[in-house]
Amino acid sequence: MTIHQSSTNEGQGSPNLEYFAYLQDNLGVAVVPRLRRVVKTSVASGTSGIAVNIPTGAKIMDAHVICTGESSNGTMQVKTGADSPDAISNAMICATNDAIVRAGTIDDTFSYVGADGIKVFAGQVGDVGDVYIHYLMEQ
């Protein structure tokens, strides 16, 4: 990491204080939670659910799958990580290699990530794909 010298007051040394002030003005508490984040989960075998690394409190606002293999009637679905998982997205078709399929529904009852976390479930053995979950940290 390069530590830039201050352009505004050499007496204050580095790092660049003008830059920090710019960050403070433009990347504040009202902005950062609105930056869309996307977490990728590669599913190679996931009928019992694969946990997703996504922070508690995140608001899931979209999901899509890019299928990585052929699997007739294949699907991927986002659910809560509870012992009895609740569906968050619909089951997205994942039957044809390379096909992109976007979520058709997101259940807002469960789209805030809770203590149980989130899991991605393949519909059946042999369903393979990369699942992208879009989320915000805005409440």
């Binding site: 204050q12 710019y22 960050l23 003005d25 984040r37 890019i66 992109i100």
Partner: protein
């Protein structure tokens, strides 16, 4: 630009050290790679031979959309690798009617991680024009 005073040590002057601490906690190494980035490339001249896109090596392409800017029959835009012999990444996304938004139907995950050859956009016809948006994460 406002230079904010420190909230946690008046002797430390500006900028606000509390803010810097918060920023550090919010943008850790596990967060930055998840931030969705989108690069826009306006195709305004012929792209039949491919036009390079400024996208970093290692980026993972996760979606592509085209907003057509000119109507042109049989128009399309397609993402491929920037190799001498380009390899298809997306399907050919229709770009036939001005203002129409069309999305990629397929992405070949074998090639969606950007390599040293980079990425290029290829149009079907010399007069196909549109704005191509490539979503990626790191």
């Amino acid at each position: 630009m406002t230079i904010h005073q420190s909230s946690d040590g008046s002797g430390q002057g500006s900028p606000n050290l509390g803010f810097l601490e918060w920023l550090q906690s919010m943008f850790g190494s596990t967060v930055i790679p998840t931030l969705l980035r989108t690069v826009k490339k306006s195709i305004i001249t012929t792209a039949v031979a491919g036009i390079a896109v400024d996208i970093p090596i290692g980026a993972k392409i996760i979606d592509v959309r085209v907003i057509c800017t000119t109507s042109n029959g049989s128009g399309s835009m397609q993402i491929k690798t920037g190799a001498d012999t380009p390899v298809v990444i997306s399907d050919a996304i229709a770009c036939v009617t001005g203002d129409v938004l069309a999305r990629a139907g397929t992405l070949d995950t074998t090639y969606t991680t950007v390599g040293t050859d980079g990425i290029k956009i290829f149009s079907n016809g010399a007069s196909d024009k549109g704005d191509v948006y490539i979503d990626y994460i790191m």
